[in-house]
Symmetry: D2
């Protein structure tokens, strides 16, 4: 199950991949259990897709770029569906996704509206933002559609061996948005009040 896939496996011409540490945080915020359904917007190299499938999820992964056919992640996934499509044009008849991950999108607002329509009542939406522009637009769109959200900034630097010494090499900071599942918001006070075997209530899929 762990460790997550190595970054080197996804190195190619496609921008990315989302680094292992960032993937770990993204996954830890989503609602993931064996057999769950995930929508991913912005496949990129397929690194997140691969980790999701390995954790037992069925993933539908969208990307508007042609390079989705060459994503290295395809080698590590067997059941995930890769669809070359613009997210605003993607539609689904019913609310079917347990979690939605937006790794990148030029149509931030429309994608968030789409995610709001397709997510289950207790699902979580996670969004990675790298540019000032996406940061701004995602925070406004989430405020409007969801009313509440959390956003963290994560900066990772890795000590790489240059010559004899290890120097800290910085990676670009990432802003990670995540919505709060309505279910958790309801149960959290209950856990404290009743304190009756919270494990069962909390993780029914264990």
């Amino acid at each position: 199950m762990f460790p997550l896939f190595d970054d080197k496996l996804f190195e190619c011409d496609i921008p990315g991949p989302t680094k292992q540490e960032i993937r770990a945080i993204v996954l830890s915020k989503m609602k993931i259990f064996p057999g769950c359904r995930i929508l991913e917007v912005g496949t990129g190299t397929g690194a997140v897709t691969s980790d999701l499938e390995r954790l037992g999820c069925y993933v539908i992964s969208l990307d508007q770029n042609e390079y989705i056919t060459d994503a290295p992640g395809r080698k590590f996934t067997r059941y995930a569906d890769y669809i070359q499509a613009l997210s605003p044009w993607f539609a689904s008849r019913s609310v079917v996704f347990d979690s939605i991950f937006i790794g990148g999108s030029e149509h931030v607002e429309e994608t968030i509206t789409l995610a709001y329509d397709l997510i289950k009542r207790d699902g979580v939406i996670v969004i990675n933002a790298f540019s000032l522009d996406t940061l701004t637009r995602a925070s406004r769109a989430l405020e409007v559609t969801f009313g509440n959200y959390d956003v963290i900034q994560v900066t990772v630097s890795k000590a790489e061996k240059l010559g004899k010494h290890r120097s800290f090499i910085a990676r670009n900071p990432v802003f990670i948005f995540f919505t709060l599942p309505k279910l958790e918001t309801l149960f959290l006070p209950l856990v404290f009040l009743l304190s009756v075997d919270p494990l069962e209530q909390f993780c029914p899929y264990l």
Copy 2:
């Protein structure tokens, strides 16, 4: 399975807990699969212990402090063994741990030597360092015992709502050390050379 336990569940008089984002990265570096055995040095609030058990691990958790009996994590774990002991005095007859996590220790060098003796051939040791002192001592001890290691620095800030506005509130940076599993080091070139179903070779426990 996911999301990981909420930080609020572990708030108490004991210093910590290790924040959810840091736990996510720590777990993603370790070798975890259902039924694996983990040694944890420095229980603290038991947040990491709880997440590990929920992911299917059997955890032995050591802490030299008396407060190990009151760790909130005990409410969320059923099988984990909590032992109040100084890590250098802990011994085991055989090499039995798939992964070892050192969340805090005053005897960094002795604990790393102990970890080296008790870890399986392809196991991973992860160490969290908060102080300049631990950073220095852990890097020296790992250099001596393991010869090679990686270290990253992770800084997380969270936008908290103060009045009308969200301001980024910084959390203290954490240095995370992890050793490379010998098995992975061997297989990695093979994956590239042969490229024959790397999934099977990589994650035999899936």
Copy 3:
């Protein structure tokens, strides 16, 4: 001249002060020379005001809050003018400021428009943003009025002695905007092309 004033000198009930490291970066971006005129919006504790006057500037400092009368910085300045006023209502008959520093304002857009009107042709405007809201609004307003700007994020953590060890204690990240002086934009290529004693062209006030 240096070192800058110590943070401890400005500790009081007023939020702040802007930390020494951040003040150093702010000052290094502004156009400062003995006898220059500076407008400061958001006095706060008066730390930046004090450093500016010590570097030989004449400062007009605005703050809408009553606590401007108690700002500790008043003890360290002799010529600076402190005015309790809302920045949008402040007016000046002529373009008189060599540099403008916006340390905090609830009327970001109006303050930036005011700054644009009052700054000299080769002056620099520096803005500190702490909240996601200010970050968003300042970047939009600068795009509209100035067309171009730079923004950096600065994170400082300081190793404080806790018990026997030094642990890195994080300070909240700050976003620092600064506009490019039109003069510099013109001279920079000249420096490279002609390379005729750039020192004279560059620092006429030395």
Copy 4:
């Protein structure tokens, strides 16, 4: 006087330059006044040297590398002395330096001992560390020679325009050590107790 020299002016084959923001913090920690004497160990591109001379300092700058003769900073300085020498072999008959800046050195311990011998009683020593190795060695050497010191970590990321959007591009973190001037340590309580015109006591060189 300000703004500091632009980073672009120092771009060349020599590693560096120390970025403007880091230079600003370094200068703000040192004891600088017109006519003061500064020792710099590790000239590099000469960016710090240039800023120091422009602020009115006389700088002696050491570097063991041959490229000291081509440092771009030479074009911007007129009085600074550049000496190609290993810092442990540099000697001076008397204690003559108001501040010492160690921008880089392979002989950290010897250089700190040298700095201790050559600094005036109320001078400040500032050290930049980029590698884990220098971090470790500098903190030990300062503990031994000076007994006390401060160390901060500074991370800067700059929003660069990539295509249509501004993305935050991280720069490698820098650790900045600085010793506390003995004079300031003595005067600080006096300022609070007497509160008699602290400006005069504090900045006799203004």
